[in-house]
């Protein structure tokens, strides 16, 4: 694998992304909404006389859960299938470069673009909060929150790539991506809630089942980072704290890494072996 080639493709991908209207729309929405949340936090601290960063962070977590998967899934889903549809993929692969280089380059480029939009949103709202004096009491935890959101980004990008590698047409890929978004964000949780109530699931089972959804994993990791406890999450959170305590961050990060690596590798295997490309 020639890193130079990878880098070239990555920068080209980054440039394409920055000219992609969907991507710009998501970025602007993310920035706008996080600014809105910061404004709410500021009016709250105006009444109370001090900041409650925990609640601001909770809203930010909620926002990340909505927008980041949407952004990463659609961008990822467009990646391979889009070029295939425009026939530029055939042209690219005809060059003296390997498929691995193409794949890693594209993945890296999209990662950079998503990273840029994330840190832009978090940076601007962090700036506003800091100037207002209602920022995090521990700035390190804000950085970790950004890091976790980025990890979620990678997970969803990998899933998006897998969708893209399995479909030929970009429209279909994006459609599947949107359905997956719905499944991850709403349907999965709603189904699990229903199951928990209907089957009287024990809380340890519920906790482990919830680890199957990377969004839940991100959420729990982010809450643990901000609050240093999961007591917000009721009995299941308290169970997890008492049972796994200091191992929880490792569990969460482990699950996120698995979710980022497996679909990513599967997507490459498909891309590498498929005759569609």
């Amino acid at each position: 694998m020639d890193l130079h080639t990878v880098w070239t493709i990555a920068r080209k991908e980054l440039r394409d992304a920055l000219h992609n209207r969907w991507f710009l729309l998501y970025t602007l929405a993310f920035i706008g909404l996080s600014l809105g949340l910061s404004y709410l936090a500021m009016s709250g601290s105006g009444i109370a006389g001090f900041a409650g960063f925990g609640r601001t962070a909770a809203s930010l977590i909620n926002l990340v859960l909505l927008i980041v998967p949407l952004m990463a899934l659609t961008v990822g889903a467009q990646s391979l299938a889009g070029e295939q549809e425009r026939k530029t993929m055939a042209y690219l692969l005809a060059q003296p470069i390997t498929r691995l280089e193409v794949y890693v380059g594209k993945y890296l480029g999209l990662t950079m673009s998503l990273f840029a939009s994330l840190v832009l949103g978090f940076g601007i709202s962090g700036l506003v909060l800091a100037i207002d004096g209602s920022g995090a009491s521990d700035p390190w935890s804000y950085l970790i929150l950004v890091g976790l959101a980025f990890a979620l980004c990678l997970v969803m990008l990998s899933v998006g790539f897998l969708v893209s590698a399995l479909t030929r047409r970009a429209g279909v890929a994006v459609g599947i991506g949107l359905f997956l978004w719905l499944a991850f964000v709403f349907l999965g949780d709603l189904g699990m809630m229903g199951t928990a109530v209907a089957m009287r699931m024990p809380i340890n089972g519920l906790f482990w089942l919830s680890l199957a959804n990377p969004l839940q994993v991100f959420k729990m990791a982010a809450i643990l980072n901000i609050n240093a406890t999961l007591d917000v999450l009721g009995p299941a959170g308290i169970f997890a704290m008492q049972e796994y305590g200091s191992k929880l961050p490792l569990i969460f990060i482990g699950v996120l890494v698995i979710w980022a690596v497996l679909p990513g590798v599967a997507a490459f295997v498909r891309f590498d072996t498929s005759n569609d490309f």
Binding site: H4, T8, L14, R15, L18, L40, G44, I47, A48, G49, F50, A51, G52, G54, R55, A58, N62, L65, Q95, M112, S113, F115, A116, V119, F122, G123, I124, G126, L127, L129, A130, G133, G135, A136, S137, P139, Y142, V146, V185, F186, G188, D189, L190, M192, M193, A196, M201, I203, Q216, K219, N227, T229, D231, V232, L233, G234, P235, A236, G237, I238
Partner: protein
Amino acid sequence: MFRPNFAAILPPSLVAVTLCVLLTRSAHGVAARADAPAFDLQAMIAQAAPGDVIAVPPGTYAAPLLIDKSVTLEGNGAAILQGDGSGNVVHITAPGVTLRGFALRGTGLSLDREDAAVRVSAADVTVEDNQIDDALFGIYYENAPRGVIRGNTVVGMDLLESRRGDGLKLFYSADTLVEGNTLQETRDAIVWYSPGTIVRGNVMEHGRYGLHFMSTDNHIIENNVLRGNSVGIYLMYGSNYTVRNNLLADNRGPSGYGLGLKETNRATIEGNRFVNDRVGVYSDSSPLRPDAVVTFRNNLFAFNEIALVLLPNVRHNVYTENVFLENGEQLSIAGGGELAQNEWALDGRGNYWSDYHGFDGDGDAIGDMPYVSQSLYEDMAARHPELRLFQLSPAADAIDLAAKAFPIFAPRPLLEDPHPLTRPPALPPVSGMAPPPVALNLVVALLLLAAATVVLTLGLRSFMPRDTPSTLRTSIN
């Protein structure tokens, strides 16, 4: 047994000088002489007459020490009473004793014996300005009414909460004044059968129950800071409480209440700040009698996961001019069910709710539509607590949205404030909350923006390096 060994830690000249001013006997005017064999604290107490003031020179004194005479012991912050780890460090059995300015350490480890740094079993005893470290129990008044406990610092042992002792325990010790003390890493500060006790201006941090009142009446609890405990203040089985201007912050964990009420009659909860607690106020069967109203006035409930958790048996509570600001939930009824006979407004003044969406047409700062707290997800979570696992996820919001769109799903309202305030009422001044580090937060934000700028420049700048294969160039451009 009580041989002091301060000589070992002080240079000889200093010892000589100090010994000259060792002792002031108010009644007899006798001072310890430099050639005294050794400064035996226990012997000094034995020799002293009631009412004497004994100035104890700097140094470390072996304890346990028994104060069985009505004297004043002055440690001036430099005398250390070192227990042998077998029981109490100081035991005061005479009325009217004052113990002031000592450092105490080395209590025993027995929870059964309740080994304490200072144990008091007599009336009118003052324990003041002492520094108590590594204590199982800190200060323990048993059958010791009218005491004064002021300006002490108690730091508990590094043990599991359940293995620790109480930083402060009052047992059958009525009319005690507890003022300006700091308790850290202990179990509880507990007031038991000690009516009329006033607790004012203390700091209780990182314990189990910051303040715990059991079966005791007529208390004023004001200007305390209760932070990082499991429960800030717990009132159980008592009447006539005034709880005002306290800060109850960061009380979290499985119980995690700012203030807990259990079978509490006639309480006025006023001007307190409940901030970032898991639950601001938890209430069970309070009040027991219909006429013994519990009133919440002008408190701030901000940034808690849940501001109020009430059991369905809570009635005759009055809430007026409180500020409910940015809580995860404003009210949860434990176990589901309905609340009844509580007043959410008094004399036409309700509370300020940050999630109120009504309007104020006549400009009197009181909303023209009632505030209604109603959430399908919260309703479900109250009945099935395990569903709190989905707190903060968009699915939980979706359930509420569905309930709004299709009212058939909407649960019964938890509460209805008929006269919600549209402007937050003035709150007592804020102290004890540390502001966030502005400069560091700025640095972090600017770092993030710098990272964004770098990536954006990378993407927007023309980047074709010279040695890119020409074929690839064409494919890209």
